[in-house]
């Protein structure tokens, strides 16, 4: 909540300074903001609904994946699952902590957290729209590989 106030306060102050310096430029910047909003609003709304669907359908299945952990396939399944679902950190870390306490391996928990935060299959439409198809696909694919590497290394060193 504090950050929300901080960001909005900062922007209002910037806007006032900008306006006092140059009215035309400020008008132009507001037009740019409005145009961008118009361009990406449908994608953002889609992303928000997709997050809801994925979370609603699969959130209670997470424990299942960790329960029947079996070798490489289980590990990759958990990583894929983390890539698809979206969850605020406020919920994700207590959940991950509880899996660890219940005996899940460090690698699988690390894979889940890393893919969860780094990769967004549901945000992909928006990423493609703003950054281009190639960039979005590269970033998500390489992030997936990196998440697996980090997870394996976590298991080795901890």
């Amino acid at each position: 909540m504090k950050t929300v106030i901080l960001i909005n306060g900062l922007v209002i102050i910037s806007l006032i300074i900008s306006f006092s310096k140059d009215k035309m430029k400020t008008k132009k910047s507001l037009m740019i903001a409005l145009k961008t909003l118009g361009k990406i609003a449908p994608s953002i709304l889609s992303v928000i609904l997709l997050i809801g669907i994925m979370y609603g359908l699969f959130a209670d299945k997470i424990a299942l994946f960790f329960g029947q952990e079996n070798g490489v396939i289980g590990f990759v399944t958990i990583a894929l699952f983390g890539s698809v679902i979206h969850m605020p950190a406020l919920l994700a870390f207590p959940l991950a902590g509880s899996f660890l306490a219940e005996g899940a391996s460090i690698s699988s928990v690390a894979a889940f957290i890393t893919t969860l935060t780094m990769i967004g299959i549901v945000t992909l439409p928006l990423e493609i729209k703003t950054m281009g198809k190639k960039f979005a696909i590269y970033r998500n694919l390489i992030s997936f590989a990196i998440a697996l590497i980090i997870a394996v290394l976590m298991g080795v060193i901890l």
Binding site: T3, V4, I7, N8, V11, S14, S18, K25, T26, S29, L30, I32, A33, T36, L37, K39, A41, P42, S43, I44, L45, S46, I48, L49, L50, I51, G52, I53, Y55, G56, L57, H86, P88, A89, L90, F93, P94, A96, I106, T114, T117, M118, G120, T123, L126, E127, K129, T130, M131, K134, F135, Y138, R139, I142, I146, I149, I150, L153, M154, L158
Partner: protein, 175 residues
């Protein structure tokens, strides 16, 4: 030329609305097929919507101001191809500031790219935004322990930087 661009833009926004329509149909179908999940789905979407609505207008305005006031030379010297280690540090810092969900970062990344930031730094900025947010690290510290958090943070920083460089190469190769 301009007309072509306009047409392309129109086509793109049509696609966006088409996709939104499909997702809405999907949401309705899911609610009909699995009615017991419907409240959770709507609640989650609504929570994210609230979270976004509180910061998104501000971030859009900030992006507009950034577009008008910040010069291309400034962005290039701090985040461009030749910005080196300093650019990487700036990108990590900008990404890690607590702000909002990842989807508000994409238009900002787009604006930075247009002003001449390198792909390396854009990847770092987005990835840091996604997984090195300061409040998120504190949650991890609390629930996963100091060793787990530090080890994952250290490796994430190293690998994100490497990924940035790889994507930079890939994107420049295809140009």
């Amino acid at each position: 030329m301009k007309e072509q661009m306009m047409k392309k833009n129109q086509k793109n926004s049509k696609k966006g609305f088409l996709f939104l329509g499909l997702v809405i149909v999907g949401t309705v179908l899911t609610s009909i097929l699995v009615p017991e999940k419907s409240p959770l789905i709507l609640q989650t979407s609504f929570d994210y919507f609230k979270q976004m609505a509180m910061v998104f207008p501000a971030i859009l305005i900030l992006m507009g101001l950034f577009n008008v006031w910040v010069s291309k030379e400034f962005v290039m010297s701090h985040l461009g191809e030749s910005s080196g280690v300093k650019g990487i540090a700036v990108a990590f810092f900008l990404g890690a500031i607590p702000t909002g969900p990842i989807f508000v970062a994409f238009p900002m990344a787009q604006a930075l790219l247009k002003k001449g930031a390198s792909y390396t730094n854009i990847v770092i900025f987005l990835s840091a935004w996604a997984c090195i947010k300061i409040p998120q690290e504190l949650m991890e510290l609390q629930f996963m322990g100091v060793k787990f958090m530090l080890a994952r943070l250290g490796m994430t920083i190293v690998f994100i930087t490497i990924m940035g460089m790889i994507i930079n190469k890939l994107m420049s190769m295809e140009k």
